[in-house]
């Protein structure tokens, strides 16, 4: 399961064990936040008129919280399906960048496995697995599935619970759980920003997301940051010294 020159020596196994332990802990933090927002999503979906099957099927087939929340709001406003599908594509276009960045790491896997990996590729799975791979310096497929499983499997389940009993839970924002996502994303960016080009790309990405968000809205500006900021990072590479 471990590729690209993994060693079976003691120190290597210790590194792998420590890295997986940290990965699981970070995944659990995301999962706690995800449970809170999954419940809220389920409740919002019910109030918008979704049945249990409809709300849960969205969590299974779309598997992307932001797009699902947007769809619930649009359904509640009686928007047409084409506009919902278009907005979903816009909101989820960023996954193209995740997939492209992970493609070199997952190139050795079978087509069937990559097809399955693609469906569970979320913001959280991308961030956790990329940081994990870069820490190890190699692919760890078990790590990918740990991140995807811990964060992803609970989503349809808590959606269903939210539809049935969502009104019983407190607002996750009151508990500070809404900060888990930006804090973890920023922290994971720090762990993989190992040189000047990476730091420059991260700073440019954040700046573009904020400035662009004010001008055109955060959904578009985040994609723009992910697309354009790496170009800024490339400008910071020294001649003949690519980023690590």
């Amino acid at each position: 399961m471990i590729e690209q020159g993994a060693s079976a020596t003691g120190s290597s196994n210790e590194d792998l064990g420590a890295a997986r332990r940290d990965l699981v802990l970070a995944s659990l933090a995301f999962a706690v936040s995800g449970v809170g927002f999954g419940l809220v999503y389920g409740l919002a979906a019910r109030e918008a008129g979704f049945s249990l099957i409809e709300a849960t099927s969205m969590s299974v087939f779309v598997f992307a919280g932001a797009a699902q929340f947007a769809a619930v709001g649009l359904i509640a406003d009686s928007a047409g399906w084409p506009s919902i599908v278009f907005l979903t594509a816009l909101l989820n276009a960023r996954h193209l960048l995740y997939s492209a960045a992970l493609a070199p790491w997952l190139a050795g896997r079978s087509r069937l496995e990559r097809a399955a990996m693609a469906h569970v590729l979320t913001d959280e799975t991308f961030a956790l697995s990329l940081a994990h791979f870069q820490r190890l310096g190699r692919t760890d497929v078990v790590g990918y599935w740990l991140a995807a499983g811990i964060d992803g499997l609970s989503w349809p389940i808590v959606t269903a619970v939210g539809v049935i009993a969502g009104q019983l839970i407190p607002n996750p924002a009151q508990l500070g759980l809404d900060v888990v996502f930006p804090a973890a994303m920023a922290g994971l960016a720090v762990t993989i920003a190992t040189g000047r080009p990476e730091v420059a790309a991260a700073v440019a990405g954040a700046a573009l997301a904020i400035v662009g968000g004010i001008v055109v809205g955060p959904a578009v500006s985040i994609v723009a940051g992910g697309l354009l900021a790496p170009i800024v990072g490339l400008l910071f590479e020294r001649d003949g010294e690519p980023s690590r």
């Binding site: 802990l25 970070a26 049945s51 249990l52 099957i53 409809e54 099927s57 969205m58 299974v60 087939f61 779309v62 598997f63 399906w81 919902i84 599908v85 979903t88 594509a89 989820n92 276009a93 960023r94 996954h95 960048l97 995740y98 997939s99 492209a100 960045a101 493609a103 070199p104 997952l106 190139a107 990996m117 469906h119 009151q174 500070g176 900060v179 930006p182 804090a183 994303m185 920023a186 922290g187 960016a189 762990t191 993989i192 920003a193 990476e198 730091v199 790309a201 991260a202 990405g205 954040a206 904020i210 968000g213 004010i214 955060p218 500006s221 940051g225 992910g226 900021a229 490339l234 980023s243």
Partner: protein, 110 residues
């Protein structure tokens, strides 16, 4: 129980999946130009930082519009970055950020 919206869920999934899958089936790393490889290596920090900034800097107003917002979330994200950079432990950074925001909202309504 209604299933009228299940086809919509399938359509939403159908437009999302290609974004997730297509690059995974594109030419492998060794066949990509070196510049593209270097670019892809920088996508990770760029998009993660963009996600962090975009989620910390904007909140939904009563009308459901995303508006720029300066709040305790910014301090919490900076705290997480400092802790994670210092200790190398993502979990500790996240917990510290959550505690700061929960306490801040509980005491000052930030």
């Amino acid at each position: 129980m209604s299933v009228d919206l299940v086809p919509l869920a399938l359509l939403m999934g159908a437009v999302t999946y290609p974004f997730r899958a297509l690059p995974l089936f594109a030419p492998t790393k060794d066949r990509l130009p070196r510049l593209v490889q270097r670019y892809l290596r920088l996508v990770g920090p760029a998009i993660l930082a963009a996600l962090a900034a975009g989620n910390a800097a904007f909140i939904e107003d009563a009308a459901g519009r995303n508006v720029f917002h300066l709040g305790i979330e910014w301090i919490a994200v900076v705290l997480a970055v400092v802790l994670i950079g210092w200790r190398g432990n993502v979990f500790v950074g996240i917990v510290a950020a959550v505690v700061l925001v929960a306490v801040g909202r509980g005491t000052i309504g930030a």
